[in-house]
C-alpha cells in the first residue's frame, strides 16, 4: 500500500447497520473520512458510537450495509484492517505493572515490528514526549496526563493509517487535554487519519469535521462551523444539545 494522498477516502461507510435482537444500535449510517483528517465522532451515551467503532475496527460484524477501512472490507478483511489501524480506548490500554519501555516493546511486538525498529522508535518517541527519564518506571506510577500521551503514541507506534481514539481525554485537566490535542494535530499533519470520539464539545471544535449520532443515526455531519450554521447554534455545545434533545413532551431516557 502506497502512502495515502491527502483527501483520499480512508473510511467509507454505506448503510452500515447493527442490530442486537430487536434493538437497532446503529441504523444505516453512511459517511466518509479522508486521509489526514481529524474526524470527531460525537453522540450521547447510547447513541451507537461504540457499536459503530467496533464495526469499523473489525471487532463486530455489521448486520447490514458496507464499510471499507483503509481500503479493506469490514466483513472479509478484518485482519488487514487491524494491521492498518491504531486504537486507544478511554481506559489507556497500558499495563500499569509494566514499565514504560516494556509497554512499548509489548505493543511493538504485537504489531510485528522488528526488535531494531522497536528500539529505534521507542527512543525517538520517549525523546519527543520528554519521557526518557521515566522509561524504566512502571506506568502505574507516572501521572495520568503522561499515561495518556504515552498510550496515544503507543497506538501510533506501528504507523497506522488511521488512529481510532475512543474518548481519549476522559478525566484529565484542560492543560493536559490541550497538549494531547497537539499530539493529535501532529499525527494528522503526518498523514495519519484521526477518528476520535469525545464528550467535550470544545474538543469537537478542534476537529476538521464532525458527525453527531442520535439514536443510531447520523443527525449532522460536516465541518464544525457548517454544522453550527445549519442548526443556527452559537457553539458546538449548543448544536449538540439541539440535536440530542428529545422531542418535546418525551422524557429523555438514556441507555448505554
Amino acid at each position: 500500500m502506497t502512502a495515502p494522498g491527502r483527501g483520499e477516502t480512508v473510511i467509507h461507510a454505506r448503510g452500515l447497520t447493527r442490530r442486537f435482537g430487536e434493538f437497532v444500535a446503529v441504523d444505516a449510517i453512511s459517511f466518509e473520512v479522508h486521509a489526514g483528517e481529524v474526524f470527531g465522532f460525537l453522540g450521547a451515551n447510547g447513541a451507537g458510537k461504540t457499536t459503530a467503532i467496533r464495526m469499523l475496527t473489525g471487532l463486530l460484524a455489521p448486520s447490514a450495509g458496507e464499510a471499507r477501512v483503509a481500503g479493506h472490507d469490514v466483513y472479509r478483511e478484518s485482519d488487514a484492517i487491524k494491521r492498518s489501524i491504531g486504537y486507544m480506548s478511554q481506559r489507556f490500554s497500558l499495563y500499569e505493572d509494566l514499565t514504560v519501555r516494556e509497554n512499548v516493546r509489548l505493543y511493538g511486538g504485537i504489531y510485528d515490528l522488528s526488535d531494531a525498529d522497536i528500539r529505534a522508535r521507542t527512543a525517538a518517541m520517549l525523546e519527543r514526549l520528554g519521557m526518557t527519564q521515566v522509561a524504566d518506571r512502571r506506568v502505574g506510577s507516572i501521572p495520568l496526563g503522561w499515561k495518556q500521551k504515552l498510550a496515544f503514541s503507543v497506538a501510533l507506534l506501528h504507523r497506522p493509517r488511521i488512529a481510532f481514539l475512543d474518548e481519549p481525554t476522559g478525566g484529565v485537566d484542560p492543560i493536559t487535554r490541550r497538549q494531547f490535542w497537539e499530539l493529535i494535530y501532529e499525527a494528522a499533519a503526518g498523514g495519519t487519519t484521526v477518528f476520535v470520539t469525545t464528550h467535550y464539545m470544545d474538543e469537537a471544535e478542534y476537529c476538521d469535521r464532525v458527525s453527531i449520532m442520535v439514536a443510531g443515526r447520523i443527525a449532522a455531519i460536516g465541518p464544525p462551523a457548517e454544522v453550527k450554521a445549519r442548526l443556527g447554534a452559537a457553539s458546538m455545545d449548543d448544536a449538540f444539545y439541539r440535536l440530542a434533545r428529545p422531542p418535546a413532551g418525551a422524557r429523555a431516557t438514556e441507555t448505554e
Binding site: 489501524i85 486504537y87 490500554s93 509494566l98 516494556e102 511486538g109 504485537i110
Partner: protein
C-alpha cells in the same frame, strides 16, 4: 512468533511482579499438604481405650495385652465395672471401651460362647467405624486362634489391606489435593487475570490488534500452565518427603495426566472469564463453579460411592473426579494406562469439550 513471545513475556511480568499473589500461589500447595496431612486425618491411631474387667484372669489379660501390643490402641483405664464409662466418653478421655463379661475367662476355658462388648464413640462416624472394625478384628483373631488351638477350627484367614495397608489418609488426600491446588491455580487465576484485562480495557486493545484470539488465550494461560505443573511437582515431592506417600506407577504418566487436568481447569477459567465482566464476579464464579464441585464431588474428601445417585451422576462431568481416580491409581496401585484408560479417556473428553467451549466463548465475546 514474535507477538506471542511478547505476550508471554508480559504475562510473566504480571505474575512475577504481583508478589503477594505469587507468594500465595507458591506457598498454598506447600501449606495445604501440611494442613491436610496433619489436621485432617481419617486414619485411626492411638485410640484411647478403656478395659472393663470385672474378674481378671488369663483370657482377659491375654486379650488386653493384644490391644496394648498394637500402636493403634492405648489403654488409658482399666475399670471393674461399666459405671464410669459414660462420663469418660463424654469428656473424651476414652474413645472406645472393651467390656468383658464377668464369666468371660471361665466360659472361654470351657469352650462356651464368651461375651464381650465393644463400645465406640461414633461422634465422628468414619473414625468410629474404623475403630470398631479394628477392635473387632483384634478380638476375632484372638478367638480364632483359641479355637484353632483347641482343634475346633483349622482355617485361619489372614487379611491384608492392599495399596494402603496402614490406611494412611495422607495417601488418599494427596491426589485430591493436587486437583484442588490445580483448580485454584488454573481456573481461578486464569479467570481473574483474564477478567482483569477486560476490566482494565487492555483486552479491547489486544482484540483490536492483529493478534488472533487463540494467541491471546495462549499467552494468557501459558504461565498458569507452568505454575500448575510446578505446583504438582512440588506437592508430590513434599508428600513423599514429609508423609512418605508412595508413587508406585509412572511419574511421567502422572505428570501427563496432570497436564490434561490443568488444561481442563484453564479452559474452565477462560469460560468463566468470558461470561463475567469483573474480577470480583469472576472470582466468585470460579470458587462456586470449580472449587466446590472439585472438593465435594471428586471423591477427594467424600467417597463417591456413598453419595446419593443424582450427585454420583453429576460427578461424572467433574474433571477432578477422573483426575483423582487416575492419580490414586498411579500413585497407590502403581497401575498404568492399561487399567486407567477409561478414566483418562473421560478426562480427555471433558478437557476437549471445555477447550472447544472456551475458544468458542472467546469468539462470541467478539461479536
Amino acid at each position: 512468533m514474535q507477538a506471542l513471545r511478547g505476550l508471554l513475556r508480559k504475562e510473566w511480568y504480571h505474575v512475577l511482579r504481583d508478589r503477594r499473589t505469587l507468594a500465595v500461589v507458591l506457598l498454598m500447595p506447600v501449606l495445604q499438604v501440611v494442613l491436610f496431612g496433619f489436621a485432617i486425618r481419617t486414619d485411626v491411631k492411638d485410640v484411647r481405650l478403656a478395659l472393663v474387667v470385672p474378674r481378671p484372669d488369663v483370657a482377659t489379660r491375654e486379650l488386653a495385652a493384644r490391644f496394648e501390643a498394637t500402636d493403634l490402641f492405648r489403654v488409658v483405664r482399666v475399670l471393674p465395672n461399666t459405671a464410669p464409662l459414660q462420663p469418660l466418653f463424654a469428656r473424651g478421655t476414652i474413645q472406645q471401651a472393651v467390656v468383658f463379661d464377668a464369666d468371660f475367662g471361665e466360659r472361654m476355658a470351657r469352650g462356651l460362647p464368651a461375651r464381650i462388648q465393644l463400645i465406640t464413640d461414633a461422634a465422628e462416624p468414619n473414625t468410629g467405624t474404623a475403630m470398631q472394625a479394628y477392635a473387632s478384628a483384634l478380638v476375632q483373631e484372638y478367638e480364632r486362634e483359641q479355637r484353632a488351638r483347641a482343634g475346633a477350627v483349622r482355617i485361619l484367614p489372614q487379611t491384608r489391606m492392599r495399596f494402603n495397608p496402614t490406611r494412611e489418609s495422607s495417601n488418599l488426600f494427596v491426589p485430591g489435593l493436587m486437583a484442588f491446588v490445580l483448580t485454584i491455580l488454573a481456573s481461578l487465576m486464569t479467570a481473574i487475570s483474564l477478567s482483569r484485562e477486560k476490566e482494565m480495557g487492555t483486552m479491547e486493545v489486544l482484540l483490536v490488534s492483529p493478534l488472533r484470539p487463540l494467541d491471546i488465550i495462549a499467552g494468557k494461560v501459558a504461565p498458569y500452565l507452568v505454575l500448575g505443573f510446578a505446583s504438582v511437582v512440588l506437592v508430590l515431592v513434599e508428600a513423599r518427603l514429609v508423609f512418605r506417600v508412595p508413587l508406585r506407577g509412572s511419574p511421567t504418566l502422572l505428570l501427563a495426566e496432570g497436564v490434561l487436568y490443568i488444561l481442563a481447569s484453564l479452559a474452565l477459567g477462560i469460560l468463566i472469564a468470558a461470561r463475567t465482566s469483573s474480577q470480583r464476579v469472576a472470582m466468585t464464579a470460579a470458587i462456586a463453579g470449580t472449587m466446590l464441585p472439585n472438593v465435594m464431588l471428586s471423591g477427594f474428601i467424600f467417597p463417591i460411592e456413598s453419595m446419593p445417585v443424582p450427585l454420583r451422576v453429576i460427578s461424572h462431568v467433574v474433571p477432578a473426579r477422573w483426575f483423582v481416580e487416575v492419580a490414586r491409581g498411579i500413585m497407590l496401585k502403581g497401575v498404568g494406562l492399561e487399567v486407567l484408560w477409561q478414566e483418562t479417556a473421560a478426562l480427555a473428553a471433558i478437557t476437549l469439550v471445555l477447550l472447544a467451549a472456551s475458544v468458542r466463548s472467546f469468539h462470541i465475546r467478539l461479536e
